[in-house]
């Protein structure tokens, strides 16, 4: 079974994985905001219309978390992933609105074996997600660790 999982060797620069579709519902946007980002422009339509963003929108942390979920569904959940040590860059380019359906790509930019931990390799990637109209909402440069096959 383990052999069916994506391992470090299965990734190479230039490889593209499709992300999404992922629906951002108003209910989920407000629920996430209540829990983690309780600013009026993420919680309340009237308050949001008076804010600098102009309309109720998702927390950037929600969008980032949704991107992680899309990466899980596309790659991580069918891989022998060993974690990640961080995100190099995240850009919240445009607000994500209730009803937006996010989809995009995850493009592998590099792979290298870990010097200190030979059982794993480091895979770097760029990802972006756009709404149903093709407007890019967020981009990221990030990385994850994957197990080397047979180790």
């Amino acid at each position: 079974m383990t052999d069916n999982l994506l391992h470090f060797e299965d990734f190479h620069a230039g490889q593209i994985f499709a992300l999404g579709p992922y629906l951002m519902t108003e209910e989920a946007i407000i629920a996430f905001a209540r829990e983690f980002d309780f600013q009026p422009f993420h919680l309340d339509k009237d308050a949001a219309e008076k804010s600098v963003l102009g309309s109720l929108s998702a927390s950037g942390w929600h969008t980032a978390s949704a991107m992680t979920r899309m990466m899980c569904d596309a790659v991580y959940a069918r891989s022998d992933i060993l974690g990640s040590s961080g995100i190099k860059e995240m850009k919240w380019l445009k607000p994500v609105f209730p009803g937006d359906v996010l989809s995009g790509t995850m493009t592998i930019t590099g792979t290298r074996r870990s010097a200190s931990r030979p059982e794993m390799g480091i895979v770097t990637f760029d990802a972006e997600v756009a709404d149903q109209f093709g407007t890019v909402k967020a981009t990221t440069k990030s990385m994850a660790f994957f197990r080397v096959r047979g180790s």
Binding site: Q39, F41, V52, W61, G83, G86, I87, E89, M90, W92
Partner: protein
């Protein structure tokens, strides 16, 4: 008490903004929704992983920072209001850089978040607003640095009011 507009902040200024406790239930709730890899949602898989136990998703640790930041901001704003001082509108963030998950955050851990202002500049594209760049950190209850990132947020300028 100083205000909370762009002009009121200076590089080097630092705060401890608060602590966030991570329960097992909260870890599993976040992981199931947003990062459902085996070692995040299954005790057996976690035991076999490099982490040994269920850990918080990296972005959950960032969300803990956000909760502390907003509670801190809310306390400051209440105090400003009590003193009859002007309140800036709070702005959104265009993103972040160099987020680092330096050590795992486990169920039962408490992370204390702190931050320092790195730089400030007015926004050419949005008169009346500025960008504040900061370095944020989280330490667990053992004093270990577990989390760090470089953030940026829009702050209203005093000239806007």
């Amino acid at each position: 008490m100083k205000g909370w507009f762009m002009e009121d902040f200076a590089p080097g200024e630092h705060w401890v903004i608060g602590s966030h406790h991570f329960t097992r239930e909260a870890l599993l709730s976040f992981n199931r929704r947003f990062d459902p890899v085996g070692f995040h949602i299954d005790d057996e898989a976690a035991a076999k992983s490099p982490y040994g136990r269920i850990t918080a998703a990296g972005l959950h640790v960032a969300c803990g920072w956000m909760v502390c930041y907003l509670n801190h901001a809310s306390a400051v704003r209440e105090e400003l209001a009590r003193r009859g001082m002007p309140l800036p509108e709070m702005g959104p963030s265009p993103g972040f850089r160099n987020m680092k998950w330096l050590k795992p955050v486990y169920a039962g851990d408490t992370v204390t978040y702190s931050g320092v202002v790195k730089s400030l500049r007015p926004m050419a594209s949005r008169p009346g607003w500025g960008l504040m760049f900061g370095l944020h950190q989280g330490h667990n209850q053992h004093g270990e640095l577990v989390f760090a990132y470089e953030g940026v947020v829009l702050v209203q300028a005093r000239s806007a009011i």
